[in-house]
């Protein structure tokens, strides 16, 4: 059993990220050296998906599945547990359904199925043949940090099985965008986390004292920047990450 280290520790065994124009690891290394706001338009081809599934994928689903599959070796796909963190989820697609409800029109059962908050989780499990525990969450500006925390709860219940944390969002539709001040960007970040293993370990605490909204890119990208820069400490709002020695 690979259970050692404190209950608040997770090692990043592997990562994978995608944003328009930042589509492989070298591109993200260059971005981390000179970070800038993320692009808002565009989504990955997700050519690894079966054509029928791919056709039904929303931009968010393509981002999530690209980040998820990119962080996993083929043999790991059915074995990891998963946490999907997204502030807005499928809200953009729900807007069309809400207009239909208000207009008393019939809903498409497929579109309804693909707009629930755990749609990407369900589609990942189907595409990966994965029957392990899975969670989907949202926590407003703390969504990335709470996704990490939820992944730690999985490691608390079973320290021996790695957890794939996927954080992803797309820019909110104009219907609501003015109501939500936040860094915009289309992105997906997959982090394969484990209690122990090869890869930097981080201890999470609640003494972050970070400045909220301090930078014009999403928290998930800021974590990746800090990871690639090898920083000893990162604070995002009240959440703090300290790199284990």
């Amino acid at each position: 059993m690979s259970a050692n280290g404190p209950a608040t520790r997770a090692h990043v065994l592997r990562w994978s990220a995608w944003s328009p124009g930042l589509e492989d690891a070298p591109a993200w290394e260059r971005w981390a050296a000179a970070p800038a706001p993320l692009a808002t338009e565009g989504h990955p081809a997700a050519a690894f998906l079966p054509a029928m599934l791919r056709r039904r994928c929303t931009p968010l689903t393509r981002l999530v599945l690209t980040a998820a599959f990119g962080a996993l070796a083929e043999g790991e796909r059915p074995r990891v547990r998963t946490v999907f963190a997204t502030r807005h989820g499928s809200i953009n697609e729900s807007i069309e359904l809400l207009h239909q409800v208000v207009a008393q029109e019939r809903l498409s059962p497929t579109k309804f199925s693909h707009t629930v908050h755990n749609a990407q989780a369900g589609l990942f499990c189907i595409a990966a043949g994965n029957r392990q525990a899975s969670s989907s969450l949202a926590a407003r500006a703390d969504t990335f940090a709470c996704g990490w925390l939820e992944a730690l709860t999985f490691l608390e219940r079973d320290p021996a099985t790695p957890v794939l944390l996927v954080t992803s969002d797309v820019p909110l539709d104009a219907t609501f965008a003015a109501l939500v001040p936040e860094p915009r960007g289309a992105y997906g970040l997959g982090l394969l986390l484990a209690r122990a293993g090869d890869g930097p370990g981080f201890d999470l605490d609640l003494d972050g004292r970070g400045e909220a909204g301090a930078r014009p890119w999403p928290d998930a990208a800021e974590f990746l920047r800090s990871l690639l820069a090898g920083e000893a400490r990162l604070a995002l709002g009240r959440f703090g990450w300290t790199r284990a020695a």
Partner: protein, 399 residues
């Protein structure tokens, strides 16, 4: 294997079609009649549906938190208000930063967003009372935390019908990790046009009362409600001792017909609690009354427990409250343990038309007025199987 750290479900607040306090809900569960369901003609155009609507008046969201003012948050507030004293005591004892919030929902404030969109059709802009904080899923946990003045981690889980069960599982882990000294956890869901029309489009909604395990079952009855628990890392009282989780990896809107995912969740919960199957005295079924759910769930239950375990679905009494169902049914199990005298468990009956499906295993469906004897600790289990293929089973224990 070392024993898990204790996790006490120290206080419960609950609201649903049966009432707005634990006593009323408990009486309604034992009565075992769908008498509190009501007909609704507004949710789905051209259809008259029986639903489990909350008819008790809900508290108003305080003016200082007006941006959160929607029916779903009022539902959560109705449950929270019932545990306010012990939560305030925990806040005073441990400090706001040590109290976390984990909530589940599948609807958040969609019902109020629909009103905002109706206003938009008439007036050209979203209703002035609307705020995105009502609609976004993270808004529920943020509201609960702001209302209580808790400043520990606060997040909302949304895995469809297993959301409420998952919230309790995550809360227990936050305590075990030592990141919180108390967690308020539960769920709230509200009847709304989006979800009702979505399930109607999937042909999953029954015309009349849902009829679980019957040969005549024809879909689910939707409902709404909220449950809120205070979880503390201390022994005694009623403990959350088992969590089992799995995914279906089968289809977005249908479970694996073999019940393999349901079986894995139940076996996982038993293993987590360190129990053999015969240690469980009662199982609250997911029991939605859809042909596929009941078929796969009954097979899975038979494989894990045989056919002698007392089981019932409480969804004919309250409707299926989706994102809140897992927390509500954990609340029903908590009431079974809290309200029964030592050595005996009074059980909510399985309400249906009495025409068992001969294709299903002949499970022991709880009859009206039935109770089971228990020696030593009493343990009960509840199943929640989410749309999208997300399963979570919990075990509760009274020593």
């Amino acid at each position: 294997m070392t024993a898990r750290p204790p996790c006490r479900l120290a206080a419960l607040g609950v609201v649903n079609a049966l009432g707005a306090d634990p006593e009323s809900v408990w009486r309604g569960l034992l009565a075992g009649e769908p008498a509190r369901l009501s007909w609704n003609e507004a949710l789905v155009p051209g259809r008259r549906l029986l639903v489990g609507a909350v008819s008790d008046p809900l508290p108003e969201v305080p003016a200082a938190l007006a941006r959160y003012a929607c029916r779903n948050n009022a539902m959560a507030l109705a449950a929270l208000a019932q545990i306010e004293a012990p939560v305030r005591a925990a806040l005073a004892r441990h400090g706001a930063a040590r109290v976390g919030v984990v909530m589940g929902t599948s609807t958040s404030g969609v019902a109020d967003a629909e009103d905002a969109f109706r206003w938009q059709r008439a007036h050209g802009g979203l209703a002035p009372s609307f705020d995105y904080a009502q609609l976004e899923f993270g808004g529920l946990a943020a509201f609960v935390a702001d209302r209580l003045g808790a400043s520990g981690p606060a997040f909302t889980l949304s895995t469809a019908c297993s959301s409420g069960a998952r919230a309790l599982a995550s809360a227990r882990s936050l305590l075990a990790m030592g990141l919180c000294d108390a967690v308020v956890a539960g769920a709230a869901d509200t009847l709304c046009g989006l979800t009702t029309n979505g399930f109607a489009a999937l042909q999953a909604v029954s015309e009349g009362v849902t009829n679980p395990c019957s040969r005549n079952r024809a879909g689910l009855t939707l409902g709404e409600g909220a449950a809120a628990f205070l979880l503390l890392p201390e022994p005694g009282g009623i403990q959350l001792t088992g969590v089992g989780e799995s995914s279906e990896a089968h289809h977005m809107s249908a479970p694996d017909p073999t019940g393999a995912g349901a079986e894995a969740a139940m076996r996982g919960a038993l293993a987590d609690a360190g129990l053999a199957a015969d240690a469980i005295a009662y199982l609250n079924l997911h029991g939605t009354g859809t042909p596929l759910n009941d078929a796969m769930e009954c097979q899975a239950v038979e494989r894990v427990f045989g056919t002698s375990l007392a089981v019932s679905s409480t969804k004919p009494l309250v409707g299926h409250a989706l994102g809140a169902a897992g927390a509500l049914e954990a609340a029903f199990c908590w009431l079974v343990l809290a309200q029964s005298a030592p050595g005996v468990l009074e059980l909510p009956p399985h309400c249906f038309d009495g025409e068992r499906d001969p294709e299903l295993p002949a499970l022991h469906l709880v009859g009206k007025g039935e109770s089971v004897r228990v020696e030593g600790p009493a343990r009960v289990m509840t199943n929640s199987f989410g749309f999208g293929g997300n399963n979570c089973t919990l075990v509760l224990e009274r020593s």
